[in-house]
C-alpha cells in the first residue's frame, strides 16, 4: 500500500542536507525507482526530500582532463552531452539501453548508483572509468572510488543523510576503447541479466590498462581483477583473451532467478568478456 509521507522541496543543498539528517528521511531524485517502490509499499519513508530544485547538482563539465557530473544529471543529459560522448562511450551505450525515453528523462546518475541494484546499467561503465563519487552530508564531504562504494546487495557506505553529489573520472587517452553490452530477455526496456563493461588502454602494442566490470552477476557490480591482470602489460592474443574471459566467469557469483540461471549468467560473462575485449583490442591494434 502507498503510504503517506511528508514532502520537502528545499531550494538549496544545505537545506536539503539538513533535512536529510532527520530520521526516516530519504532523498528523491528522478523517482523512477523510489516512487515505484513506494507505490508498491516496499519503501515507506516518513519524510521525502525532493532534490528537484537543486540545479547545482545537475550538469556536466570537463576541466584539466577531469570530467565531473552532478548527481542529478539525468540519463538523457548524458545522451545529449558531447563531453560524455567523447570521454565515456561505454556510459553512453549503457544510457542508450537504460529503460525507456521517459524514464531516461527523469532518472539520474546518482539515483542509479544509489539504488544499489547489481543490475544498474550505468554502474559497470563507471567502474571501468575508475569513477570517483563525492558524498556530501551536513557534516562534510568525502570522495571515494566507486569500487569501494558498494559493500553488499543494496548496501553501500553512505552514512545517514549522505548524498552522492558528484561523479568524476579522468578523461581517457586517445589510445583507449570502452564498450558495454547489456544482455537481457528483451531488447527494449528490460532488466539486465548480464551487464559487461570493458576498457582497454593500449601503448606500443601492449595493453597498458584493462578494466572488466560486471553487472547483475554478483551482489554488487564488481571488477574482475584477475581478468584485468591477465591482460595488462600484454600483447593480446585469442588465448589470453579467452583466459581473461574464463577468469571473469570464475569471479562471477551469480544467482538463479526468474530471468536466468546462475549457469547462464556465468556463460554470458564468459562470452561477452571475450567478445568485448576482442572487439576493443581489434579497434586499437
Amino acid at each position: 500500500m502507498y503510504a503517506t509521507f511528508d514532502l520537502d522541496r528545499p531550494g538549496d543543498l544545505a537545506a536539503a542536507l539538513a533535512i536529510l539528517r532527520t530520521k526516516g528521511a530519504v532523498a528523491l531524485a528522478g523517482g523512477t525507482n523510489l516512487i515505484v517502490d513506494m507505490r508498491a509499499g516496499r519503501e515507506r519513508p516518513q519524510r521525502v526530500v525532493s532534490l528537484d530544485k537543486l540545479g547545482v547538482l545537475r550538469g556536466i563539465r570537463q576541466a584539466r582532463g577531469q570530467v565531473t557530473i552532478g548527481g542529478r544529471t539525468t540519463v538523457t543529459d548524458l545522451l545529449l552531452s558531447p563531453v560524455i560522448a567523447k570521454t565515456a562511450p561505454a556510459l553512453v551505450e549503457s544510457a542508450r539501453q537504460f529503460a525507456g525515453q521517459m524514464v531516461r528523462n527523469t532518472a539520474t546518475v546518482a539515483g542509479n548508483i544509489a539504488c544499489g541494484s547489481p543490475a544498474a546499467d550505468l554502474v559497470p561503465p563507471l567502474f571501468a572509468l575508475d569513477a570517483r563519487l563525492t558524498l556530501v552530508s551536513a557534516r562534510g564531504r568525502r570522495t571515494v572510488p566507486i569500487e569501494s562504494f558498494f559493500i553488499g546487495y543494496k548496501k553501500d557506505i553512505r552514512r545517514p543523510g549522505e548524498l552522492i553529489s558528484r561523479i568524476s573520472w579522468k578523461a581517457p587517452s586517445s589510445r583507449s576503447c570502452a564498450l558495454f553490452y547489456k544482455l537481457a530477455r528483451r531488447k527494449g526496456d528490460a532488466i539486465t541479466v548480464v551487464g559487461v563493461a570493458v576498457a582497454l588502454d593500449v601503448e606500443r602494442g601492449r595493453c597498458r590498462r584493462a578494466r572488466v566490470a560486471l553487472g547483475a552477476v554478483a551482489p554488487t557490480v564488481f571488477r574482475a581483477r584477475e581478468a584485468e591482470a591477465i591482460l595488462e602489460g600484454q600483447t593480446l592474443t585469442p588465448e589470453l583473451i579467452e583466459s581473461a574471459a574464463e577468469a571473469a566467469a570464475a569471479a562471477a557469483r551469480p544467482i538463479d532467478d526468474i530471468r536466468a540461471s546462475a549457469a547462464y549468467r556465468r556463460h554470458g560473462v564468459h562470452a561477452l568478456v571475450r567478445r568485448l575485449i576482442g572487439q576493443a583490442w581489434e579497434k586499437l591494434a
Binding site: M1, L183, R185, R186, K187, A190, I258, A260, A263, G268
Partner: protein, 771 residues
Amino acid sequence: MSAPFDPNRNLANVSLRHVGKPLVRTDAPGKATGRTPYAGDYVMPGMLHAKVLRSPMPSARLVRLDVSKARALEGVALVLTARDLPDRLAPTDIPGQTGQTRLKTDQQILVRERVRYHGEPLALIAAESVDVAEKAMSLIDYDLEPWPGVFDPESAMRPGAPVVQGTDNIVARHAIGKGDIDAGFAAADMVVERTYRTQFIEHAFLEPEVGLAWVDENDVVNIRVSTQVIEHFRFIADAIGVPHNKVRIMGALVGGGFGGKEDITVEIYLALLAKHTGRPVRLEFTREDSFVGHGKRHPFILTYKTGVKRNGKITALDVRLVSDAGAYVFLSPYVLLYGAIAAPGPYLIENLKVDAVSVATNNMYTSAFRGFGSAQACVAYEQQMDEVAQAIGIDRLDLRRRNYLKTGEPTATGYRVPSAVWTERCADIAWQALGEKTPAKGAIRIGRGLAAYQQSYGRLTFLHDTSEAWVGVEVDGTVIVRSGVTDIGAGQASALAQIAIEVLGVNMENVVVYNSDSAVTPLAGTTTATRALYMTGNAARVAAEAVRGRLVARAAKAFGVPVDDVVLADNKVSALDRPDKAMSFADLVRLCATEGIQRSELAMFRAPFTDRLDPATGQGQAFADFTYGAHAIEVAVDTETGEVTVLKSVACHDVGQCINPAAVEGQIEGGAAQGQGYALSEEMIYREGRLMTPSLSEYLIPTAMDVPVVKSIILESRSGVGPFGAKGIGEPALTPVAPAIANAVADAIGRRIHDLPITPEKVVRALHGID
C-alpha cells in the same frame, strides 16, 4: 449448408465502394485526441471504491476470517465474505443466447473454505476512497492453513493426487478417431515422435479490468464495464439472485481483450457491492490484480507421432494433448476441443487419432486467449512438419505441399471445408517474400521458418450461435446501426458502419454505430472466437439490405424503373442510364417516412446449428468455416549469448474479403507481435502455484525495439461465410507466428528447442550444454 467454393467463379463483377477500402475508422479521432471515455473514466456522485482481498497461497484451507476491524474502520461502507453470500456461485461457462445445454460449471465467488489458486478472492470491500479500502484490506485478519496442492497436469492425473476439481481432476476429454491408425503406421516408411510444450501466457491488454455499477430506480443493476461479453448479464443476475432483466451491462470501447475479458471479471463483485450498499461502486484492478485476477492461456503438452512415406505422404498421425486447466473449469473443455480439432493442422490426414485431456491443478485457472487451443496445436503441428521433413530428408515446403488439405476435403472431424483453401498459395507467397537471405556473420547465424495453419472463425456450431443488428435511416439521410457487439479495438463497430454504408450508398460521415449495451442494443453475442465480423457483420448486412429493399422499391416507383436499376451511392439515388432520374438519399428517406414505409430493420443472423460431435470418434461438423494462411520468419541467433532477433516477418492470409484492409493489416501486425512474444519472451511463471511474474517488468511483452517491420500480404478468395465473402482474421493472425519462429531458430542453430518460450538461456543450453 453453403455450397463448396468454386475457385473458377467469376468475381470480376463484384464492385464495392466502401467495403475493401482502408477508411479511417469511426473510433480513431476520439482515441487520437484522448476524448474516448473508457470504462475507467466514468464516475458518479456518491461513488464508493472497491478492493478485492486475495489469497497469497495457492492451496489452503481458510480457517479464520475476521473482518470486524475492517468493518469498523471509518469510511468503510461494506465488507463482504463468503458467509454473506450463502448459495451464491459464479457460472464460468460460455454465455449463450439460444438455451441449449451447457457445461453448467461454476466457481465460488469468494473463498468459503478451500483456496484453490494464488489470488482467489477472500473478501470484497467498498469504501469512501481507494485508500480507505486498502487500509481496510490490511485490517482483515485471516488464517490460511496450507493444503496439499498439485501444480502440473501430469501429476494431477496420477491416482492419489490432491483433488482440485471433480473426483480425479479431469475436467474434459475429447477423442478423434478417423480411418485406421494401425494400418496407417504400418504403411509408413518412418515414424517420428516428438513432444512439444507451451507455457502460461498473459493477455497483458493495456487497460486493466475496471467497472462502475449502480442500482437504478427500477432496481436494475447497471454495470459500465470493460468487457468482451455484455451477455454475461444473465450469469451475473444468476450469481446475485435477480431476474435476468434486472442486470444491464454497458460496455465501453475496450482497452484490449484478446480473450482476457471474455470471462466475467469485476462484474459480480460490483453488482454485489452496489446492491448491498445501494450506492454506485467503482472497482479498478491494478496491474497486479489483473495478472492474478483473470485466466491465462493454457499450457499444453503435445505429443505427436507421425507416420510418413519416403515420398512425404503422411500415412498416420497419433496426437496426445494434455492441457493445464488450473483451479477452475472456465473454458478449458472448449479450448481443449479446439486443440483436438486443430491437431492435424491444414493437412489431409486420413488415419488420425487424437486423445486430449484437460486437467485441474492449483495453478491459475486458464481460459480463452486469442487462438484458443488452435494456437497451441499449431505450435506443435508445424514444428512436427519440420521435424518429419528433416527425418526423411525432404524440403520443408515440399513435405507440406504433399499433404495440404484442399477445398471439399474432410477436416479432422470429417467436415468438408466449404470455402477456398489457399494454404499452399499463402505459404509459397510468404516464403518467397522473405527475399534474399541475410548473411551470417561471426557468432550470428541466420535461420528461416514457416508455419501454415487452419483456424476456425465463428463459434462451435453446436453452441447454436446467433447475432442481431438493427439498421435504420433518419429523415435527414443519416444512418444508425445498433448492435450489442463489443468493440475491443479491432474496429468491430467501424466495420459494421462500413457494411451499412456499402449497402445503403451513403458515406462514412453519415453513419453512427451504437453498440455494447445489453438493454438497448440488439444482442449480438460475444466479441470472441473471431466471430464478430462473421456473425454481426452478416446481421448488419441483412438488416441494411432489408432497409435498402424498401427504399429502392419506393425509388423505383418514383423513377418508373425496375428496382434493379436503382443505384444508391454517395448519398444519392439515381436510375441506371437515366440521368434525368435522381434525388438525394435524404429526399428518398423523407418520402418513405411520409408514406409510413418502415425505415429500419432488426435482423438476426444464425450460424449453422449442428448436433454435438460423435463422442467416440469426434466426427461431425464443428465449425462453419476456416481461415487459411501462413507466416514466414527470418531470425538471427547469437550463438554465444543465445539472443534471437526476428529480422523478417511476412504474413500471407486469405481473408476472403477485406472489409477494411487497414484494420486487417493491423490485426496481422498485432498478431505477429503477440506471436513473437509467445515464441521468445513471454511466460507467466508459477512456482508451486505462486505467480513469480506479477508485473510488466517481469512479464515481457515485445516492445517497439523487439519487433521488425511486418509484411502483410492479403489474399481475397471472397469465399468465406462472412459478409461479402469475408473470413475471420483476428485469431488466425497470431496462430502461425510462434511455430514459424521456432522453426527459424531450429534452422539457424541446427537444434530444436521443444518448449516455449525460446529464451536466450535455452538456446545456449541447446548449443553448449552449460551447467
